[in-house]
């Protein structure tokens, strides 16, 4: 019988598939949950309040800090551990290796008992106390904020309300104009913006009333919908491909661990996030009220670095770059990176680019 090219390809693929499955079975028998560790860079607790903790990272490999204190502020949609996924894919380690004095706030895992917490509380209460604790710990009068995604919005609002305490404002993948997705021509970008705008206010309030929070599982479902083919193939084709190489498999599993660790979003803050910001776009029109006062982005007069991902499907680039039109500072810079939302932190390609980009900008403004 004569073998055709199709037969050969089929046989080779089948053989590869079986071999990869076999490797996967061996790897799963060997790898323990403790091996899939995330957020492991050494750090010391310096402040704790309710579920919120503030840590100071230890210098890396004896590299002394050459900058003032920088506070990393992640949002409530995911955990901060994304920025230190593993040793060779870590924004934290990239910055420590260059001499940045780093702190990080962890909002913990809010539950129903935190349903009343508002954005006001995260900005004017917890973040404020973290900034004060860092000033006391470091002896500095001002802190540089490095905000990420929703944490970037917290940082932006804080900087606008308390500019005297902020030396520099660095934002990454942060939405500012929540309706600017309309000018992004990429069809796969901005589903959350569209989805939220289609909800009625009482859909959101009833959802939050039912659960006390915006459940992390709901947000996970929405994120999964944004990449349907990847969602469908992740646990069959994707993981079998990852079986080829143990390092790749561990990276896959660390990402899974981070994704599974999605916290619930405190209820009242979720209403503000979805209604005031996503639906009504109040941050850019100056009508967002925090602690009873409107937030004025023109009061952001310190240097600003705005880092965004050109392929970000969750926060479309125009939503981030809109910041430049609204801040009061003349020292405004942008850094556009290839890749998607979390790729800024976890892709192998972005590692040096992000670390250098942030460090160089920061060094010039000490």
């Amino acid at each position: 019988m004569v073998e055709t090219r199709t037969d050969n390809v089929l046989m080779n693929e089948a053989q590869d598939f079986i071999e990869n499955l076999s490797k996967g079975a061996e790897a799963f028998a060997k790898i323990k949950d403790a091996d899939i560790d995330v957020g492991t860079a050494a750090k010391t607790l310096i402040h704790a309040q309710d579920k919120v903790t503030l840590h100071h990272y230890a210098p890396l490999d004896g590299v002394p800090a050459t900058t003032g204190p920088v506070l990393i502020c992640y949002g409530l949609i995911g955990r901060y551990t994304m920025i230190d996924l593993q040793e060779d894919r870590s924004l934290v380690r990239n910055l420590l290796a260059r001499g940045v004095d780093l702190y990080v706030v962890d909002w913990g895992h809010p539950n129903r008992s935190d349903q009343c917490l508002m954005l006001d509380d995260y900005v004017d209460w917890y973040l404020e106390d973290c900034v004060d604790a860092i000033c006391a710990d470091s002896g500095a009068d001002q802190v540089t904020l490095l905000g990420i995604c929703e944490g970037g919005v917290f940082s932006t609002i804080y900087a606008a309300r308390h500019p005297e305490k902020i030396k520099n404002l660095m934002l990454t993948i942060t939405p500012i104009d929540f309706h600017a997705d309309a000018v992004d021509p990429e069809e796969s970008h901005g589903f959350i913006n569209l989805w939220t705008r289609n909800l009625r206010d009482d859909d959101i309030t009833r959802l939050v009333d039912a659960f006390g929070t915006l459940p992390g599982d709901i947000m996970s479902s929405v994120f999964q919908q944004m990449t349907p083919a990847n969602t469908m193939t992740k646990y069959n084709l994707g993981i079998v491909d990852a079986f080829k190489d143990e390092a790749k498999l561990k990276n896959f599993l660390r990402m899974e661990k981070w994704l599974a660790d999605r916290p619930n979003h405190p209820g009242e803050a979720a209403k503000q996030w979805l209604i005031d910001l996503y639906k009504e776009n109040r941050l850019v029109d100056g009508t967002l009220q925090i602690s009873g006062e409107p937030v004025d982005l023109a009061k952001i007069t310190m240097p600003v670095l705005n880092v965004y991902a050109k392929g970000d499907h969750i926060i479309p680039p125009p939503c981030s770059t809109a910041l430049g039109q609204h801040v009061g500072t003349k020292d405004y810079s942008e850094l556009a990176l290839p890749g998607g939302h979390v790729g800024v932190y976890v892709s192998s390609k972005s590692q040096g680019i992000v670390g250098d980009g942030i460090f160089n900008w920061l060094s010039e403004r000490q």
Binding site: Q115, L207, Q224, M232
Partner: protein, 279 residues
């Protein structure tokens, strides 16, 4: 509803008649089977919406069963036969009927998990709450079926596109199953993303979310009536406590800040005395 023809699509006919290799025939047969599956899937959910329920036996369930039998009968290496959990997981991974649910049933599955609660064995005087819960449950099932219908149509459109494209490039089969699979998922991905931006999808999604929330709240009302009758704390009472504790904590923080600020402003008594003596 309008029944579609169940004959072989033209794209598939082209692939089938234009091939000589036995593997190509197998692929063509698979295409035909997929086409029938997608039509039955789409029709099932459309019927479910019209009937206001979705629990009847249907061709899709029959297909799922045949796929489950197929994957169970697949030959397995010895190491796999020894591990029941791994074997079961792999069977699920390889079952194409299960893959179809990804991207469509994920949300409803999540919502179902969120609304699940212990069943009530005796609703006693709670008939009214029970009926309200039943009404919301039916609304949830209807919204779920409407949502599935939108997704099923998107799958059918994607397959039409895919079969049209592969009929123009019959050599794609020569590159092996992975190449074909990648093309299929790329086509499906584009179609699902396009569908997500339609008002039909957004409204179906919103209705599903809302109905699941209303069902959960109706269920909570039932539970609260039961708890109150037995002097047990209700969800509403516990939420009230959370609100009280939140207000107290906030007040405490404000007072602490005011005291600290007042101390900072007040002249230091000891240093003042020293200053007076020194002066």
């Amino acid at each position: 509803m309008t029944r579609r023809s169940t004959s072989t699509p033209k794209h598939c006919e082209h692939v089938m008649t234009g091939t000589k290799n036995p593997m190509d025939k197998a692929f063509a047969a698979m295409m035909e089977q997929q086409s029938h599956l997608l039509r039955s899937y789409s029709e099932y959910w459309e019927n479910a919406v019209e009937a206001g329920q979705s629990d009847t036996l249907n061709p899709f369930d029959a297909f799922q069963k045949s796929m489950a039998d197929f994957t169970a009968a697949m030959p397995k290496p010895s190491w796999l036969q020894e591990d029941g959990i791994l074997s079961e997981t792999l069977e699920k991974m390889m079952n194409p009927a299960r893959m179809m649910q990804a991207g469509s049933a994920d949300l409803s599955r999540t919502l179902q998990k969120l609304v699940e609660a212990p069943e009530l064995s005796d609703i006693g005087t709670l008939e009214r709450q029970g009926l309200k819960g039943l009404k919301e449950w039916l609304a949830l099932k209807e919204a779920g079926a409407a949502y599935q219908a939108v997704i099923a149509k998107a799958w059918s459109r994607a397959f039409e596109t895919f079969s049209g494209e592969v009929s123009k490039t019959p050599d794609i089969w020569q590159d092996g199953p992975r190449s074909v699979t990648n093309k299929w998922f790329a086509t499906l991905n584009d179609e699902l993303i396009r569908t997500q931006r339609t008002q039909g999808f957004l409204d179906a999604h919103r209705a599903l979310l809302r109905s699941s929330v209303e069902y959960r709240l109706a269920e909570r009302n039932m539970m609260e009536a039961w708890c109150e009758a037995r002097s047990m704390p209700t969800r509403t009472e516990v939420d009230d406590l959370h609100k009280t504790v939140y207000a107290l904590r906030k007040e405490l923080r404000t007072l602490k800040k005011e005291i600290a600020a007042a101390k900072d402003k007040a002249p230091a008594k000891t240093s003042g005395k020293r200053a007076a003596k020194n002066g």
